[in-house]
């Protein structure tokens, strides 16, 4: 299974970014391959409006099954994500990506 995280860095030790649309990175973990990759999303800082849908579109292309993030995505981003069928897990704030992953696996998120 492929899992996406909104993070402030590119490693397991990176802090989670509670934001969705303007998250700094999308960290991708492929469980089968045990492979960690990332997408640099800092470009959204240039957009006055519509950062949410743009990030959602990118996420769709990255094609994870699950997204783990902090706050819930805003209205427009949520509308796009709904169409992608990606399962959204919120509430992963004040922790690292590793901690968020462990919590998710234990069903604590």
């Amino acid at each position: 299974m492929k899992i996406a995280f909104t993070t402030q860095g590119t490693t397991w030790n990176s802090a989670m970014d509670p934001r969705f649309g303007r998250t700094e990175f999308l960290l991708m973990y492929d469980e089968e391959k045990d492979e960690l990759t990332h997408y640099d999303n800092r470009d959204t800082a240039k957009d006055a409006h519509g950062a949410g849908p743009k990030t959602a579109q990118k996420l769709f292309e990255l094609n994870p099954e699950v997204l783990i993030t902090g706050n819930g995505p805003g209205g427009n981003a949520a509308a796009v994500l709904e169409k992608t069928g990606i399962k959204i897990i919120v509430g992963a704030t004040d922790m690292t990506a590793q901690e968020a992953y462990d919590k998710y696996k234990k069903g604590e998120l």
């Binding site: 957009d47 409006h49 519509g50 950062a51 849908p53 743009k54 959602a56 579109q57 769709f60 209205g75 427009n76 509308a79 796009v80 169409k83 992608t84």
Partner: protein, 287 residues
């Protein structure tokens, strides 16, 4: 004659002044009061009138026609607002983000994105004797106030003759929606409080009105609190000071209950008389 009532910051008494001024004027003549704060209209909380007319307001947004689409991706590339998104074999339109520029629709080589009307809000018209009250309200999630304000202005121009006094209650701030409201006003009343916050935001509002080349005056609300900076500034800048509404807890209490104040507080009514007298001199000047 069109009078817009605006202010730099929120909570300075815009709605109090516009609803009271309109109701007071309507005791002797026909008046249209319009709440142009389409994101958070609440003048209606102070006006008791009968529903006369109601209409949905629309904006034009693209609609994806799947059969015609070749998924070339031009539409999403030309949209500067991220309102058109391509998800694999699907094109998704986010109407709330769309500015109705038509670029995606007209630049689509297959005509697969025709523009269709989408409801963005509602205009409601009430009437109580001489007072017409119009409120436009954006639907939740809609972000662009300007198109609805523009349509509301058009509705008023079409429905009411020139000689009827029109009062616009503007949204707070100095951004695009305020500019759209004050654009065709004959006179703008800037209401402020004589406090450092009020003064700071008044200066921004004055700068905006000067840039738009508007004729305007200042009303001080809650006179007696704060300091003399607003008064000194108005004098130095030769901005007419139309009224000073006294600071009185009783006014805040009537306001909190949604009651008209001029009926209860003579000092308040006296200040409205001053504003009306000034407006009348403007009219004479025009004729």
């Amino acid at each position: 004659m069109k009078i817009a009532i605006a202010s730099g910051k929120g909570g300075t008494g815009k709605t109090t002044l516009s609803s009271n001024l309109a109701s007071y004027l309507a005791e002797h003549r026909e008046v249209v009061l319009t709440d142009m704060d389409v994101e958070e209209p609440n003048s209606g909380l102070f006006i008791q009138a009968d529903l006369k007319h109601e209409e949905d307001k629309f904006k034009m947004v693209p609609q994806w026609v799947e059969d015609k689409c070749t998924l070339c991706g031009i539409c999403q590339k030309v949209c500067n607002f991220h309102a058109v998104i391509q998800l694999g074999t699907m094109i998704m339109v986010l109407p709330e983000l769309c500015h109705g520029c038509y670029a995606c629709s007209e630049l689509c080589p297959e005509s697969a994105l025709p523009m269709i009307p989408k409801k963005m809000g509602k205009l409601i018209e009430f009437r109580s004797d001489n007072l017409h009250f119009i409120e436009s309200r954006l639907d939740i999630g809609e972000e662009q106030a300007v198109p609805l304000i523009r349509q509301t202005r058009n509705y008023i121009d079409k429905t009411f003759p020139d000689e009827v006094i029109k009062i616009y209650d503007a949204p707070p701030g100095t951004s695009c929606p305020v500019i759209e409201v004050t654009k065709d006003a004959d006179f703008v009343i800037l209401i402020t409080e004589p406090t450092p916050f009020g003064f700071h935001d008044l200066k921004l509002a004055v700068e905006t009105m000067r840039k738009l080349d508007k004729s305007f005056g200042v009303v001080i609300n809650r006179d007696g609190i704060g300091n003399n900076d607003v008064m000194d500034y108005s004098e130095a800048e030769k901005i007419p000071l139309l009224a000073k509404i006294p600071n009185d807890r009783i006014i805040a209490e009537f306001y909190s209950k949604g009651q008209l104040i001029y009926k209860e507080v003579p000092a308040f009514r006296h200040e409205l008389d001053g504003i009306i007298a000034y407006i009348k001199t403007l009219k004479d000047l025009k004729q």
